[in-house]
């Protein structure tokens, strides 16, 4: 894939990061090419969110060098769109979807200047791209989890971000909503060649769109193409529990918990033989 001369989306060179005196992870050296769709995986507390905070300039590395979209990380970088974990938890009745998306565009602006027609059109466009135009006038608290996630993504893309950082966007969503959000990410990536990094617990729903993965293993981040990451041995080591990888005849890839009840194992073996 051509990168069109764009700088890498994210470069880490020998990066270590500490929090409260404790090293979260170290020896992070990898490059995320522009236009990649990257799953960020690893067990709880491995430092997946920490990686985002480094890229956003909210946290400084204790050593090493970081570059985001060709420049050192800095807070307030408008080229990055960010959807934090549990995004909607703090939001309630007090805000409409449209106003929330507008904040992504003008929320940092001091003074009373009203939102311009061009800015309103930009907000409409972002809402349309995520399929949230229908409920744009409603309050966040009135929406389902999937709808809220769409609005959050609209807020992240409203300023034409080149890099999207999504922290657990599929958490607490049912299967259909998960798939819709994944399809939306695929669309966003295809339409504007946005680089997307997604923190996820479960790789399966994301596998159709992922090109790469960053996995946090034994206190170090590693980066590889998704096909190299989805291996039984690696995933089993990563999660500390048996994980199987299945490739169907149609070429679909998915992972599964490999521990099985001995009784069911016999049934499964019979079915597989049939």
């Amino acid at each position: 894939m051509t990168t069109g001369g764009r700088p890498p989306a994210l470069v880490l060179e020998g990066v270590s990061v500490a929090r409260g005196g404790r090293t979260v992870w170290s020896h992070g050296t990898f490059t995320v090419r522009p236009g990649a769709v990257v799953g960020v995986i690893g067990p709880n507390g491995a430092g997946k969110t920490t990686l985002f905070q480094l890229a956003l300039g909210l946290l400084a590395p204790s050593s090493g060098r970081i570059e985001v979209l060709g420049a050192p990380p800095r807070r307030g970088n408008r080229r990055i769109g960010y959807v934090p974990q549990n995004y909607t938890a703090a939001l309630g009745e007090a805000i409409r979807c449209r106003d929330l998306v507008t904040l992504g565009l003008t929320g940092g602006r001091f003074g009373l200047r009203p939102t311009s027609a061009a800015e309103r059109a930009q907000v409409d466009d972002a809402l349309r791209r995520v399929g949230a135009l229908d409920f744009a006038e409603r309050r966040m608290s009135e929406l389902s989890g999937g709808q809220q996630q769409r609005v959050a993504i609209a807020q992240a893309i409203v300023d034409d971000a080149e890099l999207l950082l999504l922290d657990e966007p599929l958490a607490n969503l049912d299967l259909r909503n998960q798939q819709e959000i994944v399809r939306l990410l695929g669309d966003l990536h295809r339409d504007r060649d946005v680089t997307i990094m997604v923190v996820a617990h479960d790789l399966n729903p994301l596998l159709p769109v992922l090109s790469d993965a960053v996995y946090l293993l034994d206190g170090h981040p590693h980066h590889d193409e998704i096909g190299e990451v989805v291996q039984e041995e690696l995933l089993t080591h990563l999660y500390g529990t048996p994980v199987g990888v299945v490739r169907t005849a149609q070429g679909d890839l998915f992972t599964r918990a490999a521990w099985r009840d001995p009784v069911h194992q016999q049934e499964n073996a019979r079915e597989a033989g049939a």
């Binding site: 807070r75 307030g76 007090a94 805000i95 940092g108 009135e142």
Partner: protein, 294 residues
Amino acid sequence: MIAALAGVEFQSNWLQVLQSPFLRNALVGGSLVAVAAGLLGYFVITRQNAFAAHALAHIGFPGATGAILVGVPVTLGLAVFCVGGGLLIGVFGRRVADREMATGTILALATALGVLFASLASANASTTTSVLFGNLLAVSDDQLVVFGAFTAAVVLALAVLARPLMFASVDPAVAEARGVPVRALGVAFVVLLALTITMAVQVVGTLLLFALVVTPAATALRLTARPVRVAAIAVGLALASVWGGLVLSTMVNLPPSFFIVTLAVLAWLVVLGVSGRRGRVATAAVPADRHHPH
């Protein structure tokens, strides 16, 4: 009870009383407070600061009695304690999870100090009562000047800060990533809130302040979530409560605090009833999660 209520008597000369200088001061002072309180209420709610707002009013109590003790204006004592208390809550309650505990603890300490100061200053019961329940009819010309300055400060500051403050209030994590100075805005907000509470305490008192700072905005938020409309409706409701309360209190010659608070709460109850019914209908009419093609 009947005998006590017999003391409530319609004042046939209420229109004349309404035109007297002390009532003009009350009207102007109350209006200034209503504007500041109505505007800040929206942020108090979105920042989930309602308990802190309530506590700040009580933290003003030792400020008022302490001011009497050392012989400085009550407004000064109130302002110093409200701003100081707000900053302390900000320091100890950085995380939302800690805030309730920090607020409650500082609140208890302040109330204890208030009792101590009141006893040391041998402040008479009426002084304490006017701090606890407000005394709008005693607003002096000097106080009006201070009220005017405070309200102007709140309005001007909000004109500059409104948008980033809203971002930082509803969506702090993204706002911070976006470079919005979330922490500094929090401090600025507490100072504005403390100034408003300093005024509002003198209108409705520490015990009833909630009804002027939080209730109008809460009522407005039931009607709409458009920020400008919420602010306009909240200010309108606060003004109507103050004006209506003053007129009613003049008519029957009873303290205005009761009527101001009662009107604000009545408006809230009515809107709650109406929007509650409408809300259920609206929720039922719209499917929870339709498929949205994109």
